[in-house]
Symmetry: C2
Subunit: 157 residues, 2 copies
């Protein structure tokens, strides 16, 4: 912004970030698809994210979940139905609103979530085995800030 070198450097960094995020996304998807192996036999990803959210902020109704996850309500309805069938969450009528249904994680659901989380953490430990603690911290911190930046800018258009 102040001089041309800085502008160039920024351009470059942004391009690299764009590239790397795209690449990471590819990896994530490939992993998700390809890994029927472990976790995803236990818990498909949507269920994992829903459980994490329920665990962190407490029981929620379908609409709140949908809003948080950026998904259509109907999608969440179905995912929640599947999770109920699998005993991962429980539906109870919302006492304060006859239309609503409150979704709560079951102990089994929380336990499965924790197991998947642990497996993933282990996986990262494996992948980042050669990294210094400082680098790990930095990555965690920068990703956190990136997500914050993304969150505060939900409508890119």
């Amino acid at each position: 912004m102040t001089d041309e070198h800085t502008a160039d450097r920024d351009e470059l960094a942004l391009g690299r970030i764009e590239t790397e995020v795209a690449l990471l996304m590819r990896f994530g998807e490939a992993t998700r698809r390809g890994t029927g192996t472990t976790e995803h036999r236990l818990l498909d990803r949507a269920a994992y994210v829903i459980l994490r959210h329920l665990a962190s902020v407490g029981p929620q109704n379908v609409s709140a979940l949908a809003a948080k996850l950026n998904l259509d309500g109907s999608t969440v309805t179905r995912q929640v139905s599947a999770m109920q069938r699998d005993g991962l969450i429980a539906r109870t009528p919302d006492p304060t609103d006859g239309r609503g249904t409150v979704i709560s994680p079951t102990p089994a659901g929380l336990q499965r979530m924790a197991a998947v989380q642990a497996a993933r953490t282990r996986l990262y430990g494996d992948i980042l085995a050669a990294w210094s603690p400082d680098d790990r911290d930095s990555l965690a911190e920068l990703l956190h800030r990136l997500n914050q930046a993304l969150e505060s800018r939900p409508r890119p258009r």
Copy 2:
């Protein structure tokens, strides 16, 4: 590994990384889905990735693309067919192998790819407007290293 404090700190960082990557993935998908708005009207994501790869390493056959993108050959076949229909790539018989088909980007394809790339880079510039150049560089670098680490460990199991 050497002392308990380090181990704890690592655990923590790994957990955070796991969380943030999952979150980033969610964002990416939500953006992809929700954004019929701009880029994705122009170029769906698979096409973008394919074009990027073709642009960076030159014309490829379907199998090579599939391997690189971690996708089934049939998937790539269909994507490539759609891209051919849209004039983004051209198929030519492989002169050195009668079975093969070489996929090359067309000028139109490269141009669309560049436009999407520019749009994305601009978007990141927007999102990271408040970041210092140093932080941007760090993020780019760490993401790059993360992807490298992921790549050298393609089969987590």
